[in-house]
């Protein structure tokens, strides 16, 4: 009995196609039962997320026959009649197991190294297990996949660092302030990215949020959404003495904060550290303020550059992760077939 994978993901299929093949969770147990009743597979797990729909199966059939059967089953099951090219990939051992380990470790994810997929994979496996659609082969493969994911998370840098602008802002705040839970945040301009950054700070425990915007109504709406307080745009400097982190993203064509304006405000703040995040283009804050004592200014390019560097660092870890996975796949398959590593791959269309 061998393990095969058939499915489509963000790498091979656009969202319009993925949503056609997606399974609602409530439908999965019945589908698995149907697949097993049709004698195509002995064990099966269906993973259906926004980025992938995959069937992991253990089957007695020859892989090529199993692929044809499962492919047909999938098409019929989702009532898909349009032509398909290379959107659906089919993997047999050892590539199927290797793929499972990569998915669990976030190596096949859209956001490299993300951990959400591991949770989704566990849910998919638990669902199949609960309805007794897994057996010795898939149980062992999935348990090993979870172990490999843990190993990779702790022993490599694949999940290190933030790769979004908002979370980089939070990381910087954590490098400046001892605790975030007594920090006050000022959002100047109700932009989308500044809202995300403010939410990220709130999720890490920031004490309060003040929102100001030229259109006061927008400020009020965002403040209500964030659980903060809205103030009029002309009043934000008056609040500055109590602020620790300011996120600015107005559409102003000139600097709204410069050294001359900030110097007296810093005295009022007793020179406590101040993190300024300028997400506006053109910039809201004069770059020279970064030279001031205890002022740390980051613009959108700085944050994006850090996020890109983190992503690059993660990408550099891929080879290490793949070596770990290769060893673990060999270890798992050697228990079933000592010559597993010599099996020729039977794959198609896995971009």
């Amino acid at each position: 009995m061998s393990i095969v994978v058939i499915g489509l993901s963000h790498r091979t299929a656009p969202v319009e196609l993925r949503e056609r093949f997606a399974f609602a969770e409530a439908r999965i147990p019945a589908t698995l039962q149907l697949m097993r009743d049709s004698q195509i597979v002995d064990e099966a797990v269906i993973l259906s997320t926004c980025n992938r729909v995959e069937i992991y199966a253990a089957t007695q059939l020859e892989p090529q026959k199993a692929f044809a059967e499962i492919h047909g089953f999938l098409i019929n099951c989702q009532d898909y009649r349009d032509p398909l090219n290379d959107e659906i990939y089919k993997l047999s051992e050892p590539h199927s197991v290797s793929h499972l380990f990569k998915v669990a470790s976030g190596l096949d994810s859209m956001v490299l190294g993300e951990t959400e997929i591991l949770g989704q994979l566990k849910v998919a496996y638990d669902l199949a297990l609960k309805h007794q659609h897994t057996g010795a082969r898939l149980n062992k493969a999935f348990q090993r996949a979870f172990n490999v994911a843990k190993h990779i998370r702790t022993d490599t840098g694949i999940q290190r660092g933030s790769i979004s602008v908002a979370s980089v802002g939070v990381e910087l705040a954590e490098k400046i302030f001892t605790k975030l839970n007594d920090r006050h945040v000022l959002v100047i301009g109700a932009g989308d990215t500044s809202e995300k950054a403010a939410r990220a700070l709130l999720s890490r425990g920031a004490k309060s949020i003040i929102v100001t915007n030229r259109s006061h109504d927008k400020a009020v709406a965002l403040a209500a959404d964030l659980g903060g307080r809205a103030i009029r745009f002309d009043d934000w400097t008056a609040e500055f003495a109590g602020v620790d982190i300011a996120i600015s993203s107005t559409a102003a064509p000139h600097h709204i904060l410069d050294s001359a304006k900030l110097a007296p405000l810093m005295k009022l703040r007793k020179n406590r550290p101040l993190l300024l995040i300028d997400l506006a283009v053109p910039r809201d804050i004069e770059p020279e303020v970064n030279r001031m004592e205890n002022v740390f200014l980051y613009n959108v390019d700085d944050l994006q550059s850090i996020a890109n560097d983190y992503l690059k660092a993660r990408q550099e870890e891929i080879a290490r992760c793949e070596r770990i996975i290769e060893d673990k796949v060999k270890g798992l398959l050697s228990h079933h077939r000592p010559n597993a590593s010599r099996i020729a791959p039977q794959t198609s269309a896995h971009a």
């Binding site: 660092g161 933030s162 910087l172 490098k175 400046i176 001892t178 020179n271 740390f296």
Partner: protein, 273 residues
């Protein structure tokens, strides 16, 4: 093994601190992303030799080994390493070793200079618990000032990273700058209290009727150092003088202490009869 003296053990300790310094440079260059266990173990090995040297010297003298500059320096660098090894039990703070090892290495090299460890005379002019307490408190104070300077250096490194090497700031294992500044100020304050207590006890026990205390270089120097540290402590807590200027002041004053402590000791007839 009798040929292997306390100085040899201390030399071995300094060699370990030297290895740790080299490793620290690598860690520094990598932006503190490297594993610090090796550094911790090197400093721990050095500490083992260091404490053996102090025990051997202490047993041979039957007193706390702080009777000449070699011993005083050995004692004070031991205070720094001990503090680090305790703090470094927490893996998150183990990176402090990258800053501690250069300090204890260079101080150790200095202490090993032969003229700083003359043979002990048959009877020291001042002895007893009061003198030992005076010396031990003052050396612990300088140990605290040393650690404060180390924390200030970390602060300056991280502020520089945050302002100019922005990725390095987020990937480094250094604590938040606010905590580093706080640690610097608290160590400085604790050191200042120990120094004050040590000087008061010294003034009480080191009494010689015919001696002109006002003209003793060591006493003038000690009062000056005490006043400068007082100014630093007051400027931070009372006048909110924070940031790089405060950190640089902590480093500069400690560098001044390191460079002049031994010289003034040699010039003082009270401390170096």
């Amino acid at each position: 093994m009798s040929w292997f003296t306390d100085r040899h053990f201390f030399l071995l300790a300094v060699i370990f601190y030297g290895f740790s310094t080299v490793y620290s440079i690598l860690i520094w260059r990598k932006g503190f992303r490297q594993d610090n266990r090796v550094n911790y173990l090197l400093l721990f090995a050095g500490f083992g030799c260091h404490i053996t040297a102090m025990f051997l010297r202490g047993f041979s003298l039957q007193s706390c080994p702080v009777n000449n500059i070699f011993e005083a320096t050995m004692f004070f660098s031991w205070a720094i390493v001990t503090a680090y090894l305790i703090i470094g039990i927490s893996s998150r703070l183990r990176f402090l070793g990258a800053f501690v090892s250069p300090v204890v290495f260079f101080v150790g090299v200095f202490a090993l200079m032969p003229p700083l460890d003359p043979p002990h005379g048959p009877k020291p002019e001042f002895s007893g618990a009061g003198v030992s307490l005076h010396a031990a408190l003052i050396l612990q104070a300088y140990g605290a000032f040393g650690l404060s300077a180390v924390a200030a250096l970390m602060y300056l490194t991280q502020v520089h990273n945050l302002k100019f090497h922005k990725l390095r700031a987020v990937v480094s294992l250094l604590p938040p700058i606010q905590r580093l500044e706080n640690v610097t100020a608290r160590l400085l304050t604790n050191g200042f209290m120990l120094l004050t207590l040590g000087l008061v006890i010294g003034a009480a026990v080191l009494q010689r009727p015919d001696y002109n205390y006002v003209s003793d270089p060591k006493i003038i120097w000690s009062v000056l150092v005490w006043a400068v540290y007082l100014a630093l402590v007051v400027s931070f807590w009372k006048f909110s003088q924070r940031g790089r200027r405060f950190a640089w002041s902590s480093v500069a004053v400690f560098a001044f202490v390191l460079l002049t402590f031994w010289g003034t000791n040699l010039l003082s007839k009270l401390h170096h009869p």
